[in-house]
Subunit: 308 residues, 4 copies
């Protein structure tokens, strides 16, 4: 039995055949589905209609809509936040990305501004009418972060941090975007979503951000196949991250546009007033003029796709 914000589900897992009508006749049972996938609740076999995420103030993420999330890799301070918000507003963008807790391979790298950076950012974004998405790295951060987050991001190194997934299912009603693992399979991403969903939080997004392969000419290998496959397998919205997917600034735009044609419901990318001075990921970050141009092109590309 699984309780979520929208209702209770009774999930039966088993290999034996039995007459499911016996359940259907029981009191309080609204509907029965037989789902052959191992992930039950996030499967489109169970729920055909796409999930949409309502962020309030008329901002939604949904199939058939198109949402852009843009901002710096790391939140660096008030001036940077204000300039980014202004850039987004000028372009009609409703969601700003940024990191205050940064997972870093080396313990000696910049690890982010932490909770104070988050509070500052959240207040400034709220004033500007913009929602924020930011990474949560561990269970103990949830309580503190929760009032200042519009969407949680689970990073590629935490896709299989099952305790974190469990807690994001149980202890928040904020939406959660789960990134595919660094070398995660499509199925593993769906299972990770199943953790959060079955623990009680149905407001989920999935994100393709490139996978690790032998090819070293690019930071990761953006797997646009995965977007096409995910759109078939699950009712959850699918977001593309071309910045991490290719990792080279002047190639971000074509991969962003390609992601839309592959079926993405949204794109998240990195932009900064001065990428060369960014605390992290500058090599894959667009400056504002590049970002202006990309936004225009993405909107046109989405329009064309929807016309097909």
């Amino acid at each position: 039995e699984v309780k979520t914000q929208k209702g209770d589900y009774l999930i039966g897992i088993g290999k034996k055949d039995f007459d499911i009508r016996a359940i259907g006749y029981m009191d309080g049972i609204k509907d029965i589905h037989i789902v052959s996938d191992d992930y039950k609740l996030v499967s489109r076999k169970w729920k055909v209609n796409p999930t949409y995420i309502d962020l309030g103030d008329g901002i939604k993420i949904q199939e058939g809509g198109f949402q852009i999330m843009a901002g710096p890799c790391s939140i660096e301070g008030e001036d940077q936040i204000r300039k980014t918000l202004a850039h987004l507003k000028e372009n009609g963008i409703s969601i700003m990305r940024g990191g205050v807790y940064k997972p870093r391979s080396s313990p000696y790298s910049f690890r982010g501004m932490g909770i104070d950076g988050l509070k500052l950012w959240y207040e400034l974004a709220k004033e500007a009418g913009i929602k924020i998405i930011t990474e949560v790295m561990q269970v103990s951060q949830i309580e503190e972060m929760d009032p200042y987050v519009d969407i949680y991001q689970v990073g590629a190194r935490n896709t299989q941090n099952f305790n974190l997934l469990d807690e994001l299912g149980k202890n928040t009603d904020k939406p959660v975007m789960i990134k595919r693992g660094i070398s995660g399979t499509i199925d593993e991403l769906l299972y990770s979503a199943e953790y959060v969903f079955s623990a009680g939080n149905e407001r989920l997004l999935l994100c393709e951000r490139g996978i690790r392969t032998y090819e070293k000419a690019t930071r990761n290998t953006m797997d646009l196949n995965a977007i096409a496959v995910l759109k078939e397998k699950t009712h959850l919205p699918v977001i593309a991250d071309p910045s991490h997917g290719i990792g080279i600034r002047h190639h971000v735009a074509p991969i962003a546009l390609a992601s839309i044609m592959a079926g993405a419901d949204g794109v998240i990318y990195e932009t900064h007033e001065k990428p060369e001075e960014a605390y992290s990921d500058g090599q894959q970050t667009l400056n504002f003029p590049e970002s202006n141009k990309l936004i225009h092109q993405m909107n046109k590309t989405f329009e064309l796709r929807e016309s097909f």
Copy 2:
């Protein structure tokens, strides 16, 4: 010193610094370039203007143009050829793909109709005003095939068959499309092109067809990053093969469209009147109505890209 159809090149490879003006003053030297890439002749650092392939009868493959190549995995017989040609003509497509020599993992699979199939196909296509592209598997086939081929294809298992590349450089003036190896790097693909180019044949196309990764939900992992990177690194046209890139019939179209946004100069894909009866690759082959629709969408997508 490298002789090609368009002229002779003197390539100097070395690590020592010397005054290149000493060469520039020599008789008969038209121009000098210093190319830091290990592949010299196919690099855009050496030749900034894009190469175009003129197939005659007004049919060209070139940057800024867009060419579609479609047809079955295997050539199966006259009826199939005629129906495919008719389908292409209706859609204004100028190049038909098909295999008469099929590389197969198992020695017990269908290996193609061979040279007789090629002759039949070539004559029918010529009547219809359509060019053909087909795979050459070994050096000894070149002489026999040459009169009946418009474009040679070097398959993913032969990308590093260096003898074959050498011979295609020396013994034909027909264009050659080299597919990326099954787990080939972008650099290896460029080196393979350098083999053919430096052996004398400059009429080259490169093709991204998906790479081998750990992900098994799709046949290969289509690497659209590679298209963006190749378009920067080389002056040769770049073609996308979404059929092999994802390997699942109902996902071919979004990946084809995505490839165009990533920068492809053309798309090659598999179509057959009755995919379920095709001798090979039926699971990734479009039927004609699906193909009609995709052609329309690709043309629209290319138009939009060029408008940016």
Copy 3:
């Protein structure tokens, strides 16, 4: 400045050249090393002598010694624990492995006996004079687990759970074995060790357990190259896990013996009285007669290696 249990280290990270003798003349500085690796404290360039882990009661893990850790995938109950302990004692093995918190891809799989299972197991093992190694999955478990653990294991899905690594550095003096990530690089494993070491806990072991590749005939691809490379790069002991490395019961033994020849300081593998009835990983678990035989062969192989 980094404080650990054995002393304080002053680490300078920077690109500028300066006269390091200026530091050497300062009071309280015992020694200075220049380490060009990005991981400083775990590098053999800094500390040439191998680290050894003293578990008490004469049980050590160290270069030039050889330690076997064996036991079930999951702790299942008292009877299973007692039988495994007896099997280990008969063979002179000093360390038992087992999981009480199990990371599982699907939320519907068995997730382990938890803290009560750990307490029971620890008491029984202590009576038997045997040390235990078990996986910790999250920060909040450390305090509760700490009295009942001899060695913590950080699993392949948590190799880059940097908060967990930080806490294992700060809040325990128990040894920690870090498994290589599912598709982690050798460098990333060393960086993860650097997290724990620089946070204060020097008692570290590294473990090669196979990586994710395109090859699907085996569960993972055991990377014995990594053992040879790690033994060169770091002073920490290196353990091999052939059970996960190949994932097929009847192939565990040859890979275990191969690991020793590649340079492993110890082997960890799965054994169970009745593998076919094990709650998890039965397909890669040895029964006791197979385990008896393997222990004998490993000891002989280690002896031979040391004679070279």
Copy 4:
């Protein structure tokens, strides 16, 4: 129907059930096997007894024996050949490796001494009582090379050069060692062997030489799992190539020894009087003192393995 040097085989491939006794009663049928693997003739399900390769003069490659093949990457000239032969004789080694046709990623690299180098080498080796193994790159080389070859090697870039495999099946009775593809699966290697075997040449060896993965600390990832799996699946001898498998000179020895424990029937590695002056692969080539030591250790390791 498949004809080989040892007899004719009638292979039935199909999915329908029928009474195989109907075939058994036919004249001239000696034995019937049902083999569920897609590769039939190289499967151990069909032929339980291991294949052995008799090279003449008492030199055999076989399960339960152990053969070492050593020599330079490239044959460079008479002096180098003589010195290598002397080194091998001193150590009781019967097979020398070397390349006269070198597949090179770049067309500007050294491509080998060719047929004249082969003739010279073969004569010198014959005098010394030593057999040679060398790579054949294309069909047209077979006729010319055949009198001067003891074992053909098919390189990792030609594992799926099906025409070459076919011809090595039909037009020579010399043994053939097939290397696993650069990112070839175990099954693909077995299929490639099936090509040669079903075309008529049963004298086959398989070679694991490392696969391409994301890990860049080593040249390739030596997959010792593959050796264990191949020894189960096929009756053909399996050889390990630690030189290419790890690609780092001072790590070749531990990987060679590990390969033996994993089940290899032989080891092939690169040695040169002065590795730093070798025309190719110097970074992974042992000098003669290192080679002496390794041979001793390999023989001891094989002895121990056989004692188990």
